[in-house]
Amino acid sequence: SLTAKLQEALRRLRGKGKLSEKDVDEALREVRLALLEADVNFKVVKDFISEIKQKAIGQEVLTSLTPAQQVVKIVLEGLTALMGGKEARIAFASTPPTVIMLVGLQGSGKTTTAAKLARMLKGQGRRPMMVACDTQRPAAITQLEVLGQRLDIPVFSMGDKVAPDKIAKAGLSRAADIAADVVIVDTAGRLHIDQELMDQLRDIRQSVTPHEVLLVVDAMTGQDAVNVAKAFNETIGIDGVILTKLDGDARGGAALSCRAVTGKPIKFVGVGEKLDALEPFYPDRMASRILG
């Protein structure tokens, strides 16, 4: 564990009063490695380490902690604060329906997460409806419809020959007909560097003006997470992130990368394939998972 590695590195500091710059540099070398191994982007790590260094130098070593524990404490606090401090929620519209749009790379978990979100909101007494705007992947519409049937939640679709922004708009008007108060729009996975598909996403956004655009990111994503988050945020704007597949053993450094580069909060985490596997995001838990 990181604490063990730091104990080793800072063994000779027992009984010392303050953390010197040299002590801190040594400790932060281990922290840097831990964060990189956890897939935090190297630029984000660089910035974070220099920030922590400032906080740590000259700090009194608390009598209740070893110097190593002290450093870990400072790092954990820094990570938790960076990660967003407290739990973020869905911003519901003052006049329904609230429109939530899920976007992200191929295979990140959007369709499954759309159904999980719908189930969660239904459990909270709302009336969700899902809209199938992935007209590209074979059987994507069927996938969302099957999930909707399992949950007894309506799914609006118009087949795969209609433009997704038209489907979204028609879905919104269907929501009014059936008094649905939350509309969840599932979109096709796409590359942030695919100009045409990013334009399409902008069209969908403009046709239904979502209250929440959530970027769905796979927890095992590596250094590329910053590129993806930055591009989606700059091209269509995102309000938050949902991190999926956290039930695995990926450390999830992508969470920190996304947060650092967009400033947007992680709102939920996917923790399994079943439709009840969606939890709120806890910054402190994520911080200690990343640190390892």
Binding site: L105, T142, M220
Partner: protein
């Protein structure tokens, strides 16, 4: 001389960052750069630094077999696709089916993902697109039974290639890894030598967790090669360097898009060059 040494350190730092950013891994990147520093010292100022590091990477990637193992003539070659959720297994199965179809082979696909919503329909849609037969049962059925029926049908119909699609599963799910072992056992029992390939499908955007995936899938069912998908994005897929180095598993196929033709055999030189672009 002092000035030149400083330039080298900057260059070395830059190279280390390129490697880390490519998901080579922090420890491995610093080891590679240390090795590079020694080699540059010994080589004098003749060889370009970039060429040396590229060769070091090619040394790791280059050996090992990128060919798809074939069965005895007259029996179906069976290729099993495994991996964690969403990496591109089903799409890669379809692309490889298309590749063999365009070469005039008889191809069958087994829809052994009986768990995920519309997984069977997804593969059946692909089957129509690429002209390959699909063997499937109902959703919720036993995936090993699907594999068994597919092997029977493949033998009976003189199929050249049987491609088995399996459900995405996290390597940390012991019961799901047991299910995968059973699928493989059923195939092997019914056709000696099969499956001739077990391809682990890895998403190029994956970070260090891919090593853990490769380790567990390999120790549980044996992996003969990697299909690296989504290399058409901005991720470099450098994680396959660590996997080749630590486990000896070579990359055989590369996915570069969502269409049936977007599959290439792994080209280590192209891959290494792309790391430095």
């Amino acid at each position: 001389v002092g000035g030149r040494a400083r330039l080298d350190q900057d260059t070395l730092d830059q190279i280390e960052e390129i490697l880390i950013e490519a998901d080579i891994g922090a420890v491995r990147a610093s080891q590679l750069v240390e090795k590079l520093r020694d080699e540059v010292k010994r080589s004098g100022n003749g060889t370009r630094v970039n060429d040396i590091i590229k060769n070091d990477l090619l040394e790791i990637l280059g050996q090992g077999n990128a060919e798809i193992t074939r069965a005895e003539p007259g029996t179906p070659t069976v290729i099993m696709f495994v991996g964690v959720n969403g990496t591109g297994k089903t799409t890669t199965v379809a692309k490889l089916a298309f590749h063999y179809r365009t070469r005039g082979h008889k191809v069958m696909m087994a829809a052994a993902d009986t768990f995920r919503a519309a997984a069977i329909q997804q593969l059946e849609a692909w089957g129509k697109k690429v002209g390959a037969m699909v063997v499937s049962h109902e959703e919720g059925g036993d995936p090993a039974a699907v594999a068994y029926d597919a092997v029977q049908a493949a033998k009976a119909r003189g199929v050249d290639y049987l491609l088995v699609d399996t459900a995405g599963r996290l390597h940390t799910r012991v019961n799901l890894m047991e299910e995968l072992k059973k699928i493989k056992r059923v195939i092997a029992r019914d056709l000696p030598g099969a499956p001739h390939e077990v391809l682990l499908v890895i998403d190029a955007t994956t970070g260090q967790n891919a090593i853990s995936q490769a380790k567990v899938f390999s120790q549980e069912i044996g992996v003969t090669g990697i299909a690296l998908t989504k290399l058409d994005g901005t991720a470099k897929g450098g994680i396959v360097v660590a996997i080749k180095d630590e486990l000896g598993i070579p990359v055989k196929l590369v996915g570069i898009g969502e269409g049936p033709e977007d599959l290439k055999p792994f080209d280590p030189v192209m891959f290494v060059n792309a790391l430095f672009e």
